[in-house]
Assembly symmetry: C2
Homo-oligomer: 173 residues x 2
């Protein structure tokens, strides 16, 4: 008994992006309670040379969009990176979910040893599918979702570990 490449990837991304949609709901309620424009969140940064909130969500989405596309060998949909509101960011997450859930599991399964070409600023590198998933896509995705969460916490949104991890009731398993 083992885990397939699809099982080791898409369900993790789907669950966390679903959790992130709920953080945005709480962020919106917080802005309403404090009477500020929720679009202000998009400018929040943890350091002056870190990318702001809106970009963190865009990159979290792209981490899994390109991750799944490259592993499966399918074309990734193009998104314009023009989100200006929380509603826009929600739509970005939903489009990403729609794409990664649309890729058939059997395109992803069996790709452990497949050569995956990953573009980087200084050229490209080729990693095996399993290594790419475990040591690039997963850490990179969690980096940007956790930074998204941390920015909301830093700005006072009432979130806790349960919001981060999501529900564990019978229906969620």
């Amino acid at each position: 008994m083992t885990i397939s490449m699809h099982a080791a990837s898409v369900p993790i991304f789907v669950r966390m992006l679903g959790n992130a949609l709920q953080w945005l709901d709480k962020a919106e309620s917080h802005a309403q309670a404090k009477k500020f424009d929720p679009a202000v969140y998009l400018t929040a940064r943890l350091a002056p040379d870190m990318l702001p909130f809106g970009n963190q969500i865009q990159i979290a989405c792209d981490a899994v969009k390109f991750g799944v596309a490259r592993i499966a060998g399918v074309e990734a949909p193009k998104f314009a990176d023009d989100e200006k509101t929380l509603a826009d960011l929600r739509a970005r997450i939903q489009k990403t979910l729609d794409f990664i859930e649309s890729v058939p599991a059997d395109r992803i399964d069996g790709t452990e040893d497949k050569d995956v070409v990953v573009p980087r600023r200084d050229g490209s590198m080729t990693l095996k599918g399993e290594f790419y998933l475990k040591h690039f896509v997963l850490p990179n995705f969690f980096f940007h979702v956790t930074t998204t969460y941390a920015l909301l916490r830093h700005w006072g949104v009432d979130l806790g570990k349960t919001d981060y991890l999501g529900a564990f009731g019978a229906a969620a398993r």
Copy 2:
């Protein structure tokens, strides 16, 4: 061809904890350059009601210590949570690495459907091994390592995505 439970867990933790050791080296150099006591890092928080830096590292370590122990059905070593310096935190990470690398892969492999009992504040819950790894241990671990990284970035340490993800040269694969 598929991924075993061991392959889907320990190598990911080992690589990221190794990366974190390097962040601590950079944090120490930054403190020396700015002439502050590096123990001050241990008090850094992203929000008043988030745990400080030292606890983030302790919990990142415990996430994988208990994760591996529960999945493998072995006793986790007890650590005193008394770290006061960066050197103490480095030792905590090293002890964690030593433990998770000491657990034989065949104790971890084949546990996809094993019932794992996870203590929580409001009682305990039982999750299947694969679900527990993918939707609890991995996200929880990455939460605390990313928060560790974010705190250092927030406090001005010169880190970038390459430090977070680690090297991808031939020797690292």
